[in-house]
């Protein structure tokens, strides 16, 4: 009830603070947020933090189990797994955020234009989305990576291109419903240019769904990057991402279980936290679903 009351009050600020209040009460989402902030922070300062060079080989040492010198143990070539996991963190987060930004850029623009102009523009643009939806996208990404080189740019393009479709649909829906709101109609009637209305009035109000979907896109993209790396199509050695570490670990886990255990645990934990965070944001920003839980 109090949530509903808060929303009938002044728009915007109180809505946001009500959402924040609801979010804070969600313990799983809140601890996920802190865990992620910690992970991202560690990933950023990892060059100063890593105990060893991630690519420094110590063939004499070989694969050694976790010890005081090497907390996560070392891999077959004697490289420190903790340092490699930290490098992997940078790459996984970078890919996750960058590809999500690509998806965000294309998807929001596409969806906002389609939803705002409606009519034939909309049906044409959405038909394109429909057709692209029907494509086995990851197969194209695999082809892209194999044939055009395993570069970062290709990872961003490939994974970002997969994720913008849903974003476009969501933004289009929100824009279409906001288009009929009084304050937007008023702005249109007084001759404010479309671009200004979209940027000033419409998109800020679409922020909730966009934020939620973006939060849920990051783990998806990170998982897809790991998937590509697992197939040997992601970053190339001696660089490492969590996916490539898991791939190495998976082939050797019988003899050296820690090689699989640590990267797998870190990746799963991160994805888990991102999913909890996304769910929490959705519940906080959309009181309808919250009332049910």
């Amino acid at each position: 009830m109090s949530a509903a009351e808060a929303e009938t009050g002044s728009r915007g600020v109180s809505l946001r603070s009500a959402a924040w209040r609801r979010f804070r009460r969600n313990r799983a989402a809140l601890s996920s947020l802190f865990l992620l902030l910690f992970f991202v922070f560690v990933a950023i300062i990892s060059p100063w933090l890593a105990p060893h060079e991630y690519h420094h080989q110590n063939l004499a040492l070989g694969a050694s189990s976790p010890s005081v010198a090497h907390w996560f143990g070392t891999d077959y070539e004697g490289r420190d797994l903790l340092s490699r996991t930290l490098v992997g963190a940078r790459i996984s987060f970078l890919v996750g955020f960058a590809a999500t930004l690509v998806a965000l850029g294309i998807g929001v623009t596409w969806g906002a234009i389609a939803g705002w102009y409606g009519g034939r523009v909309d049906s044409l643009m959405m038909r394109v989305v429909d057709v692209l939806y029907g494509l086995p996208y990851m197969f194209f990404v695999i082809i892209l990576m194999v044939w055009f080189g395993r570069s970062f740019l290709n990872i961003f393009i490939g994974l970002g291109a997969v994720s913008w479709l849903t974003m476009a649909r969501i933004v289009r829906g929100v824009v279409m419903s906001l288009k009929e709101k009084e304050y937007v109609l008023a702005a249109r009637a007084t001759g404010v240019p479309s671009r200004r209305i979209l940027l000033r009035h419409v998109l800020p109000n679409a922020l909730g769904p966009i934020l939620v979907y973006a939060t849920l896109t990051v783990p998806r993209v990170m998982m897809e990057e790991a998937f590509l790396s697992f197939l040997g199509l992601g970053v190339q050695p001696p660089l490492a991402s969590w996916g490539s570490l898991i791939a190495e670990g998976a082939s050797l886990f019988r003899e050296y279980p820690w090689l699989l255990a640590f990267p797998a645990a870190v990746l799963s934990l991160t994805l888990l936290a991102l999913n909890f965070l996304g769910d929490g944001l959705r519940d906080a920003l959309d009181p309808k679903t919250e009332a049910n839980s």
Binding site: M1, S2, A3, A18, R21, R22, R25, A291
Partner: protein
């Protein structure tokens, strides 16, 4: 004793509330006191008009009778008797046995009260099957009921889905479903609000015929005084979870005693000419059941309330006003 025998339903000082400190965002909120000592009774075969604004507790009273309230609902005092037996605190199974067989309810919105995924036939047959009817028999009886409600081509209608019907047709289907088990008591919760005027009149005529042919007692919940005028034997006005006035229809319409009832009468739509869809009944807003005033719940909106009458401090007790006419108000009236 004979009077007690003919009583089908009796609310005796029934009070219930929904706890406040439950669910996110409601920590420490006070309980919502939805019913605050309802006294009301209904005889067999009687039609009672229950009038009040939304939030006055009409629907909750109906749901309580069926045992369909949210699990959080807490009865704080009073009794609710059906055929002389207190049904408060009975098990869900006991309530369920009564539902449909003894008491049926028709809900407000015909557009959302039928299951859109199931055929009309399925939805009426499953009720008839509760009486142990065989499937073919139930199918036949179901079509008959639809026919009795004035639906054209009832056999064909059995196969259609709710979305293929108009609002009026759906409401007839809902009433047919409610009546198919020939319950002794029918609770109709604003059954005509969503319908156009012609259909409204037809549905009301249907209710009258029902009582004549089957002796069904009906509680007709509405906020539309006009609808009850031609239908009910008795009127009860509900406000803030209490019955504030109760009288035979003729008495009530001739001389309403409670200031709220008078307000309702005054704001009635004209008998002739175009009828507005919904009227703003009385100035002000209904009381918040979480923060009920200490005295009369209506005092803040009442044009008669004065400090002499201590309306703000005391809850006015029921007062006999004439034969079968009671009112819960300190004001003695213009007389």
């Amino acid at each position: 004793m004979s009077a007690a025998d003919s009583r089908l339903l009796r609310f005796d000082d029934l009070a219930l509330e929904f706890p406040g400190g439950d669910g996110p965002g409601r920590d420490g909120a006070p309980a919502a006191k939805v019913l605050n000592g309802v006294d009301l009774s209904l005889e067999r075969g009687e039609i009672l008009g229950l009038v009040g604004e939304s939030g006055s507790g009409k629907t909750v009273a109906g749901l309580a009778t069926l045992g369909l309230l949210d699990r959080r609902a807490r009865f704080t005092r009073g009794r609710l008797e059906f055929r002389g037996e207190n049904i408060i605190g009975q098990s869900p199974a006991q309530h369920r046995r009564r539902r449909g067989l003894d008491i049926a309810m028709v809900f407000q919105d015909p557009m959302t009260s039928l299951n859109p995924f199931l055929r009309i036939g399925t939805q009426i047959i499953e009720v008839l099957r509760r009486r142990g009817m065989s499937r073919p028999d139930a199918k036949l009886a179901g079509a008959q009921w639809l026919g009795k409600m004035g639906l054209p081509k009832p056999e064909a209608q059995m196969k259609s889905y709710p979305h293929e019907m108009s609002g009026g047709m759906r409401q007839r289907v809902l009433i047919a479903i409610a009546l198919a088990l020939e319950p002794e008591l029918l609770i109709a919760d604003e059954p005509t609000t969503a319908l156009d005027v012609t259909t409204q009149a037809e549905i009301l005529a249907l209710f009258l015929r029902l009582r004549e042919t089957m002796g069904t007692a009906i509680i007709f919940i509405t906020h539309d005084l006009g609808a009850v005028a031609g239908l009910a034997d008795r009127m009860a006005v509900m406000y803030g979870g209490r019955i504030v006035e109760e009288a035979p229809v003729e008495t009530f319409f001739a001389a309403p005693a409670h200031p709220y009832s008078q307000g309702l009468m005054a704001s009635r739509p004209p008998l002739e000419g175009p009828r507005p869809h919904r009227l703003k009944l009385v100035g002000g807003t209904p009381p918040d059941p979480r923060h009920l005033p200490a005295g009369c719940a209506f005092a803040a909106r009442c044009i008669q309330a004065t400090s002499d009458l201590s309306c703000e401090e005391l809850v006015p007790p029921d007062r006999q006003f004439g034969a079968q006419h009671r009112v819960a108000c300190f004001w003695e009236g213009p007389r």
